[in-house]
């Protein structure tokens, strides 16, 4: 082992680095630009996840936009309410009472429930499978199951279960919308965390065809519409859905008679 050349290498590189560092430090002193100190404070209060939910290229850009008054506080769906309030106080902005939204996967077509139509050997992403006649599962509306949503989640809040269905961790989910955009089937939607009753199906085929491909498909039989008096259930395009502005029971499903058990309670009671 040639230790002199090692020492020379380390010393010369270190020396060059040191010289440049000194030059840069000097230049930094001379060329320093006074930035609004508020920007740094606001950036510290923002989540720092750079998830892009605000539509700006990262939290620092969002902080600049907030300080310059270009956007209001509702822009960041991710930050804690207390942090937003602090930013509001700092900038004299009004805090907007935003209900926390979480992603809901509107599909129960896991590997046992939904029929398989083919073997898929292609690229194992949902987007790739979409181009190749939609992957293995027979349902043309439901989850494809290759986890594009899992891959894009910056908060580690969505995972695949054994059935090959994504499960949202409602505590970790911040409602940043990334998974909603990533899903080629539009199976994932954002809903306020206080909404618990959902029709977990996205199949818009007629009841018979939907039932043929999936055990838990909504067949648009309207039993739920008739059973619920508040008018919170509606059927559109062969698919029942819950209108949470009308539906009066927070943690209760209107009928046990749903023939395919497509109506499901999601999440825990009293979540915030």
């Amino acid at each position: 082992m040639d230790y002199t050349s090692l020492a020379q290498a380390v010393l010369s590189m270190g020396g060059i680095g040191l010289v440049f560092a000194l030059l840069l430090a000097l230049a930094n002193k001379k060329l320093k630009v006074e930035e609004d100190p508020k920007i740094e404070k606001v950036e510290d209060l923002l989540p720092g996840a750079n998830c892009g939910a605000c539509g700006l290229p990262g939290c620092s850009a969002c902080a600049v936009a907030l300080v310059n008054g270009k956007v209001d506080l509702s822009i960041c769906p991710v930050a804690d309410a207390s942090d937003l309030e602090e930013i509001g106080q700092l900038l004299g902005l009004e805090t907007v009472d935003t209900k926390r939204q979480v992603a809901v996967v509107l599909c129960q077509g896991g590997n046992t429930n939904v029929k398989k139509k083919a073997e898929y050997d292609g690229i194992k992403t949902c987007l790739g499978a979409t181009f190749a006649s939609g992957g293995e599962r027979a349902c043309n509306y439901g989850c494809i199951g290759y986890g594009d949503c899992v891959a894009v989640c910056p908060f580690d809040a969505i995972h695949m279960n054994k059935e090959g269905l994504p499960v949202v961790d409602r505590n970790k989910c911040t409602g940043c919308n990334n998974c909603v955009l990533a899903c080629p089937r539009n199976v994932i939607e954002l809903h306020p965390v206080s909404s618990h009753v959902f029709v977990l199906c996205n199949n818009k085929d007629s009841g018979k065809n939907a039932r043929q491909v999936c055990k838990t498909a909504c067949i648009a039989c309207k039993i739920c519409v008739k059973a619920d008096e508040s008018g919170g259930f509606e059927v559109k395009d062969n698919l029942a859905f819950v209108d949470h502005t009308k539906y009066d029971k927070e943690y209760e499903i209107p009928t046990e008679k749903c023939p395919t058990k497509a109506i499901v309670i999601v999440g825990d009671k009293g979540e915030k």
């Binding site: 050349s5 010369s12 590189m13 060059i16 440049f20 840069l24 230049a27 630009v33």
Partner: protein
């Protein structure tokens, strides 16, 4: 090699962007507006010229005497990164709008392969100090030429009747290809 031939060769015949296909990233990224693309060209030219000078000094006065040529890429990256930092501070101080217009592509000059290319080529071609500076400068001029031409064309394209699916990146790629073809015509000039 005379200074003139080095200039013509680096700026036009072996144009870094359109013939050697180095530095494509800012070439496509910052060529939307003529003014900001020209500033990008100037910034890159400055970094290239300075990098050529400093890397030459480092190579022949530090790396060669100690037999450390294997460290050339590491040390060149160090030089380029520091220079880019300097340019960034300078532009931020001098013109905030320009700083905002260049955006992420300004720090990305660090990873601009055209600059690394200049540093590696001047060692490979065994240029003298003066020749190296000329080489770096003319490579920068070539880069500026390419990016300004591209920006001019893209500004015209904004009002042109481009088919829906060719708008944006696709038509830019096609234009870049056509320009590269045109620059091939210079091959063999010297």
């Amino acid at each position: 090699m005379t200074i003139f031939t080095i200039f013509i060769s680096a700026a036009i015949i072996n144009n870094y962007v359109l013939v050697q296909f180095l530095g494509i990233c800012p070439f496509v990224g910052v060529s939307k507006k003529l003014s900001s693309s020209f500033s990008m060209g100037l910034a890159t030219t400055f970094v290239m010229t300075m990098a050529a000078a400093v890397t030459w000094l480092i190579y022949y006065f530090i790396l060669v005497p100690f037999n450390l040529q294997f460290l050339q890429i590491v040390s060149f990256i160090l030089v380029i990164a520091s220079l880019v930092q300097l340019v960034e501070m300078f532009i931020k101080k001098m013109s905030k709008p320009l700083y905002d217009a260049l955006g992420i592509f300004l720090p990305l000059i660090t990873t601009n392969c055209a600059i690394m290319g200049v540093a590696l080529f001047l060692v490979m071609k065994e240029y003298s100090f003066i020749e190296s500076i000329i080489f770096g400068f003319s490579a920068g001029v070539g880069f500026t030429l390419a990016i300004v031409l591209m920006a001019g064309i893209r500004e015209e394209l904004e009002i042109a009747d481009v088919p829906e699916y060719f708008k944006g990146a696709p038509i830019t790629m096609i234009v870049a290809g056509c320009m590269a073809l045109a620059f091939m015509g210079f091959a063999g000039l010297i």
